[in-house]
Point group: C2
Chain length 431, copies 2
C-alpha cells in the first residue's frame, strides 16, 4: 500500500489515475464472434461454448428439471438468505416507482410522463470461480418490479454442462423467465440479435470480463441498449481519527479481493490512522483464501492523508468512486457533500458488503469515473419515460403563434403549417 | 407515398424496416480528428474549422459583445416566442424533479436515492441551413433546472465567423454558461477531452450529422456519456374515419421536410382516409419551400390500412416511432396502450410541431427504434441518482448473517469478514 501524505492539488490527477483499459484491440475478435452468432444462431453459440467453455451442449435453454434439481442442491440457509436479500432489494427498488403527474403547462396545454417498462431485457451473469447469484438478484428483481414482460438470463455452464444451482435458485426467486447456457461474447450476441432459442432483447445488463464489455459496447452502437460501460471495481474509504481501523482494514480488503486490478483508496484526515490500518490489513490478510489476489491489488492501492474534511470531500468527488464508505464522525454532513459516487455507505456499521448483498441498494454501479455521468442500475434502468401532450383549441390559440414564429425562424414551413391549419380551423369554428 | 392495405403480420417486419445506418466506415476519419483534438487542443479545433467550416478563427469562445449584438439582431417577436417556449419547457421539466425518500427497508437498514446534477454537460447544436435555436432551449433548459454547474455549448460558425444570433439569444434565455465556435467531430472531441478554452464535460447532448453521431459514439466508449444514439427523424400518425385529412397531411409533411431520409408512416383503420390524405399532401406540398426534400422523403413513406385499432396499436408499438400522433376519436384510450414511442401527441389539436417548439416536452427523442429501450431527454438525463445506505447495530444484526452466508457462497471471504468484524464488535459491546 502506498502512503501519500498531504499531496498538493496539482498532484491529484496523477494520484487518482486509473489504469487505462482499452478494449479496442479486442474489437476484431469480438466482431467476428458477434457476426457468427448473428448469422449462425444457436449453432454458432453452441460451437463457441465448445471452444471457450469446453462443453458440448445440445440445447441452450435450462430445463424445468434442472431448475428443480438446483432447488434441491442449495442449502435451506442460503435459500433463506437469498429470499431476505430479494425482499430488501425489492422493497427499495419498489419505492423508486414513478408516479405520473399531469402538468397543465398553460391553459389548454397539458403534458405528462409515463414510465413504461422495457418489454424485453437480457441479463448476463459471468461464470468463473465464484457463482455470482447476488448479481442475479440485483438485475432481475428491479426488472420484475418494473414490469418487463420478458426477462432473459444468459450465463456460461460449467464443464458438466450445468449452471451453478445457486444462480438458478436466485433466478427463480427473482422471477427470471428464461435462462440460457451461454457465456462471453456469444451470449451478448445471442441476446442482441436473437437466435432460434434466445429471444432478442432491447437492453442488456450485467458484468463480465473485457470481452463481454467489448461485446456489449459493440452491440450498443446499433442494436440494443446496455446498462453502462464498466471497469475494475473500486472503493474509496473516508476515515478520521475516530474510525475503527479493524473495520477500515476489512473494508479495504473486501474490495482488494475482487481482482488484481481492483482499485482501493483510503482518504483520511488522521495521519495516525494510516499505520493502524496497515497493521490491521496485514493481520486480516493472512487469514484470507484470496490472499494473493488481494495482495496484488493492495500493491497499487493508496492511503492518502489530507488536511481536513473539505479536502477529503473534494478529493473523493474528484475520484468519483463506484463505492464510497464514509466512516467519519460527521458522516451525515459528509453525505450531503457527495457529488460523484455510485453508492455511499454511511457510518461504522455499513460495510460495502451490506450493499453488495442485502441492504436493498443495487450493486451494479458505475466504475472508472463513470459516476460523474452515470447512475447505478435502479428501477429507471428498466423503464422508458414516454412523454404525452394534449392541446385543446385554447392551448393552440395560446402557443400556436409562437410555434409558427419559431418554425419560420428555423425555415421549417411545414412545421409552421401544421400549426397554421389548426389555428385557421379554430377561427372558422368560432365564426 | 406507398399505400399498403391490410398487411399480414408476417409482412410487418419488412414493412417497418428502417434504412440501415452504418457509421463504422467513418470510424477512421472520426478517430483521426478526435486524436488530433486530444493532442492539439484549440489549435487543432481551429485548423479543422478552417478545413470544414471554411472560417479562420482566432478564438473559439463567443464574446459578451457578440452576445449583445445577437440580442439586438433578433426580433422582439422571436425573443418573446423563445421566452414563452423556455417557460413551458421549464415548467414541464421542473415538474420532473425527484424528491428523496428514505426507506427503512428493515429496522436499522435505511436506504435512499438522491438526484445529483452532472457537474459539467456539453450541448452540440449543428449548423447548416437552419439555425436550430429550439434545440438550444430543449437541451439547456433542463440542464439549468437540474443544477448542472457548467453548461457548455458548441456550434459551428458561419463563413463570417459568427454564430446565428437566434442561437445565441436562445442560449442566453436558457442559461448556457459558455459558447464555443466549433462544429462536427472537432466540437465533440473538444468537449470530450477538453482544450485550452473548451472545458472537458462529463456528458454530451445534441443532434448532428453522421460524423457527429459517429464521434459521439466513439467518445462514449471511453471518455464521456452521451444522450442517446441517433438516426433520421420519424413520425407515425394514427388516424381513423373521423380524422381531419388536412391536419393529417400537414403532420406527415412536417416530418417529411426534415430531410430526404425522414421516416413518415400513416396507420389508419379507414381505407377512405388514405385518398383524402394523399390529395391534401399534394395540395399542401405545392406551397412548401422545402418541397423537394419533402418529396424525396414521401417517396419512401408508407400509408398503411389496418383492420382495427388493436392492430393499429400493435403495429405502431412494433415500429417504436420517435413521434407518435394519435388523431383518432378514442385517442386517450389509445394513449394508454402505447408501449414504444418517444413522445406522443394526442387529439386533433396537438401537432408534432407543438412539442417540437413550445408545449413543454422535450424534442430530443429516440429514433431508429431506440424508443424500445431509451427515453427522450428529460430532467433525469442531467442527474445521477446516487444511492445511500445506513445501518445501525440493529440493522447489522438483522441482515449480517445473510450477508455472511451469501459472501461465503460467492467465495468472497473478505466481504464476509467486513460483516463479521462488525457483528463481533456488537456482541462485545453487548456483554
Amino acid at each position: 500500500m502506498n502512503v501519500i501524505r498531504y499531496p498538493q492539488k496539482e498532484e491529484w490527477d496523477e494520484l487518482l489515475k486509473r489504469p487505462v483499459m482499452n478494449v479496442d484491440t479486442l474489437r476484431e475478435t469480438v466482431c467476428r464472434v458477434l457476426d457468427d452468432v448473428k448469422t449462425g444462431g444457436d449453432r454458432a453459440v453452441m460451437a463457441y461454448e465448445k471452444q471457450f467453455d469446453h462443453v458440448e451442449l445440445e440445447c441452450l435453454a435450462v430445463t424445468e428439471e434442472e431448475m428443480d434439481e438446483a432447488e434441491r442442491l442449495v442449502s435451506p440457509e442460503l435459500k433463506d438468505a437469498l429470499r431476505l436479500a430479494h425482499e430488501n432489494i425489492g422493497k427499495f427498488h419498489a419505492s423508486q416507482r414513478f408516479e405520473t403527474t399531469k402538468v397543465e403547462v398553460r391553459p389548454g396545454v397539458t403534458c405528462w410522463q409515463k414510465a413504461v417498462p422495457i418489454e424485453r431485457v437480457g441479463l448476463y451473469i459471468p461464470g468463473g470461480t465464484a457463482p455470482l447469484f447476488s448479481t442475479v438478484l440485483m438485475l432481475a428483481t428491479p426488472a420484475k418490479i418494473a414490469g418487463c414482460r420478458e426477462i432473459v438470463l444468459c450465463t456460461p455452464p460449467g464443464r458438466d454442462g450445468k449452471v451453478h444451482p445457486a444462480i438458478l435458485c436466485a433466478a427463480r426467486v427473482a422471477g427470471v423467465n428464461r435462462i440460457f447456457k451461454a457465456g462471453g461474447v456469444q451470449a451478448i450476441g445471442a441476446m442482441a440479435y436473437g437466435t432460434e432459442s434466445v429471444p432478442k432483447v432491447y437492453k442488456i445488463f450485467g458484468p463480465g470480463n473485457q470481452y463481454v464489455m467489448a461485446a456489449k459496447q459493440q452491440v450498443s452502437l446499433h442494436d440494443v441498449a446496455i446498462d453502462m460501460p464498466a471497469g475494475p471495481s473500486e472503493v474509496a474509504v473516508l476515515a478520521d481519527a475516530g474510525s475503527n481501523p479493524v473495520f477500515v482494514a476489512a473494508d479495504l480488503l473486501s474490495q482488494a479481493e475482487h481482482g488484481v486490478d481492483s482499485q482501493v483508496l483510503l482518504v483520511t484526515t488522521d495521519e495516525a490512522l494510516v499505520g493502524k490500518v496497515q497493521d490491521e490489513v496485514e493481520r486480516q490478510l493472512a487469514a484470507l483464501p484470496r490472499k494473493e489476489i488481494a495482495e496484488q491489488a493492495l500493491a497499487h492501492s493508496k492511503l492518502v492523508v489530507v488536511r481536513d474534511m473539505d479536502e477529503a470531500m473534494e478529493l473523493t468527488n474528484r475520484y468519483a468512486p463506484e463505492h464510497l464508505i464514509i466512516e467519519t464522525a460527521d458522516y451525515l454532513q459528509a453525505a450531503e457533500r457527495v457529488v460523484n459516487a455510485g453508492s455511499v455507505f454511511l457510518g461504522s456499521y455499513t460495510p460495502e458488503s451490506a450493499g453488495d448483498y442485502a441492504s436493498g441498494t443495487n450493486h451494479t454501479l458505475p466504475t472508472n469515473g463513470y459516476a460523474t455521468a452515470y447512475s447505478g442500475v435502479n428501477l429507471d434502468s428498466y423503464h422508458r419515460k414516454i412523454t404525452f401532450q394534449e392541446l385543446t383549441p385554447q392551448g393552440i390559440r395560446d402557443i400556436g403563434p409562437a410555434v409558427e414564429l419559431m418554425a419560420a425562424g428555423e425555415h421549417l414551413d411545414a412545421h409552421r403549417n401544421a400549426m397554421t391549419v389548426r389555428l385557421e380551423s379554430i377561427k372558422t369554428e368560432m365564426k
